[in-house]
């Protein structure tokens, strides 16, 4: 049994792929958790993330398989699902063997699992584009707290970069203690843990109550259908929705 241990970054994962190819060995698992030696026969190999190796694999996927596949594995990686690393590894092995046509092998198990991870992440990304709620803090800074299932911070940031181009904003993923911070026309992701309560601007309460009010009066009571509402807007998102916390 060979277990690769990498640093948990996408760059690190693609470095593992590179190393496996040149070491001519097939890992049984790829993980970023340091674990106790399970048994005598398991060999742990530490992978050192390497920019050059990463770029080589990255470009190889784009040129020899397809851009779509590259996107697919990146999304699957962000799903943070258990064993998504080895699933990506198996998918790429098949991809390098058959090339672009992998996108058509929809009933192959390796492809299926990656498509499934990727679709879940895409779905949440799209939902979050609508469900993120900014609050205005002092000096006009916009702050949004999110608690997504998947690691979608890097996927939603470009959307708000275009949309709120002349604002300063922060999207804070509380589950992962990370935040995307946009200022001076650029966004970057950093560690963030809030020590104290944030203070909202003096106009903020007014717009929140106007929105709650609107949310209530736009609904047609003769058509009330709470089940449908919940189907479209799963409960796990409600905690950060201004309109659901009156």
């Amino acid at each position: 049994m060979i277990v690769y241990v990498y640093d948990g970054t996408f760059e690190g994962l693609l470095t593992s792929i590179y190393d496996s190819f040149y070491r001519k060995e097939i890992p049984t698992r790829i993980t970023y958790m340091q674990e106790e030696q399970k048994d005598f026969l398991t060999t742990y190999i530490n992978i050192t993330t390497d920019e050059v190796k990463f770029n080589k694999v990255y470009n190889a996927i784009k040129d020899k398989i397809s851009y779509h596949s590259l996107q697919n594995i990146y999304y699957a990686f962000l799903s943070e699902q258990k064993d998504c690393e080895i699933a990506i590894y198996n998918y790429l092995r098949l991809g390098f063997k058959i090339g672009k046509s992998i996108d058509g092998y929809l009933s192959n198990n390796n492809v299926l699992i990656i498509n499934d991870f990727s679709r879940k992440v895409q779905k949440e990304r799209h939902a979050m584009l609508g469900l993120i709620r900014f609050m205005e803090l002092d000096k006009g800074l916009l702050y949004a707290k999110i608690q997504p299932k998947y690691n979608i911070l890097s996927l939603v940031s470009p959307h708000f970069e275009k949309r709120l181009a002349s604002e300063n904003w922060v999207i804070h993923d509380e589950n992962r203690n990370k935040a995307s911070i946009y200022t001076d026309g650029e966004w970057y992701i950093t560690e963030l843990k809030l020590e104290n309560e944030i203070e909202i601007s003096n106009k903020e309460k007014l717009f929140q109550s106007l929105w709650q009010n609107y949310f209530h009066s736009i609904s047609i009571k003769e058509r009330k259908n709470l089940k449908l509402q919940q189907q479209n807007m799963p409960k796990r998102y409600w905690v950060n929705l201004i309109e659901k916390n009156m």
Binding site: L106, S107, G130, S217
Partner: protein
């Protein structure tokens, strides 16, 4: 009047307007501006009736000079009245947008003073939004009877426009909304259509031509306030799609607010299922290559409330089935009940690599609950019952399969009887 009160009155008055789509525009943010359209459109919330909230939907004013029988803003109705100022709408829209509550603005209005006067106010508001560098989505209602030049001017500021057809026939319009004339609705529709075509041509010659309604036009009609059957409504929609290149026709189940001799009684439940069937059929027209005449005819002028339109059509045309999924072409596949656009595309892609069996379809995520009665995989049929419309209909309606075999004798009788018998079997009341 407080802004909060105005908002309450004017969003409540706008809630029956159905259109909420924010898709179809590629408006880009400008330097120092706010907003950037997402082509796919984005839903931002869902209200308690389960309908999505994408656009900030309000009336500019509910002080109406008209007296349409079904409308809560009509002049003779005793409701609280309010009118926004353009500045108020601009501030609300931009502040809601900035906080990511909304994808843009949906602005409509009662006829305030006159159609032209109202249209001028609406234009002033959207113009002010754009001057404030707001690049979010704007859907504006065209006011029937407003001057041509105003309709054309409005189109330069907004992404989508719509003129409501309201009722499916001239006779009903005459009976319920006598101040609205068919011409005053059709005229702006033609105008918008021609404006869009002309703008496309100008854009080809000169890239920097300002966009005119990049997301096209839509309309809406009320279902169940007047006597027309579904067949008339669907034929009308078909005509609107063909003649005016409409992006969407919206259907709004009539919710009775007034007791009147010309309207269904106040106790009438809104025909929500009928509305749903019309939407399903509308989809079949737009994406599935069906014609209205295939779905309904003078013998069946209304949709079956038990079965969706596609199932109903498939059972009427059972001789076409079963289709072999590895051979049938895309246009045939999308006519199978339960197989949608996505599933059909997946099937067509996947079968190039290898022949598909039943398990493969499951893996692709094709929903087989209904489809299995209409297809074969590698020549094998998985429906498990004989391919005749009566027994398939029974299993589709979720009646336990044992009845379909047990009750084969009832196949000669109409449905209602079969169901009564079936339920009495369970309860033992013979």
């Amino acid at each position: 009047m407080e802004i909060l009160t105005k908002l309450q009155i004017l969003s409540d008055a706008a809630k029956y307007d159905v259109s909420c789509s924010s898709s179809g525009s590629t408006r880009k943010n400008s330097k120092g501006g706010l907003g950037n359209a997402a082509v796919s459109g984005i839903c931002h919330s869902w209200s308690e009736d389960g309908r999505c909230i994408s656009l900030f939907k309000i009336l500019f004013s509910n002080e109406c000079i008209y007296n349409c029988a079904y409308c809560s803003s009509k002049i003779t109705n005793d409701v609280r009245r309010a009118t926004f100022t353009p500045e108020e709408v601009v501030s609300l829209t931009m502040n809601f947008y900035k906080r990511n509550y909304i994808e843009g603005l949906f602005l409509s209005s009662a006829v305030y003073k006159s159609p032209d006067y109202t249209m001028e106010l609406l234009i002033k508001t959207v113009q002010m939004l754009r001057e404030n560098k707001f690049n979010g989505y704007i859907h504006l209602k065209g006011i029937p009877g407003a001057d041509n030049t105003l309709i054309n001017r409005a189109g330069l500021y907004v992404d989508r426009m719509s003129v409501n057809i309201e009722l499916p026939s001239e006779a009903s319009l005459q009976a319920l909304a006598p101040q609205k004339k068919k011409e005053s609705i059709i005229k702006p529709m033609s105008l918008i259509k021609n404006g869009i075509i002309q703008n496309k041509e100008e854009k080809m010659n000169y890239r920097k031509t300002p966009s005119f309604l990049p997301a096209g036009q839509t309309t809406q009609l009320i279902v169940g306030a007047s006597p027309e059957p579904d067949l008339n409504i669907l034929k009308l929609s078909e005509g609107l799609y063909k003649r005016f290149t409409m992006k969407r026709v919206y259907y709004s189940a009539y919710i009775p607010v007034f007791e009147s001799s010309t309207l269904p009684s106040i106790q009438t439940k809104p025909p929500l299922l009928r509305e749903h069937r019309l939407y399903q059929a509308d989809w079949l027209l737009r994406f599935y290559g069906f014609n209205a005449d295939e779905l309904l005819n003078s013998n069946n002028p209304n949709f079956d409330l038990e079965l969706d339109p596609k199932c109903f059509w498939a059972l009427e045309n059972i001789h076409i089935f079963p289709l072999e999924v590895n051979k049938a072409d895309y246009t045939e596949l999308i006519r199978v009940p339960g197989i949608g656009i996505r599933s059909a595309m997946k099937i067509v892609t996947a079968r190039r690599m290898s022949k598909l069996d039943y398990e493969d379809l499951k893996k692709l995520g094709v929903v087989l609950k209904r489809a299995k009665y209409f297809i074969t995989c590698k020549g094998k049929y998985y429906g498990g019952i004989s391919i005749n419309p009566i027994s398939i209909k029974q299993v589709l309606l979720d009646r336990p399969e044992s009845y379909s075999t047990q009750l084969s004798i009832f196949d000669m009788f109409p449905d209602s009887l079969v169901r009564k018998e079936a339920s009495s079997n369970i309860t033992g009341e013979f």
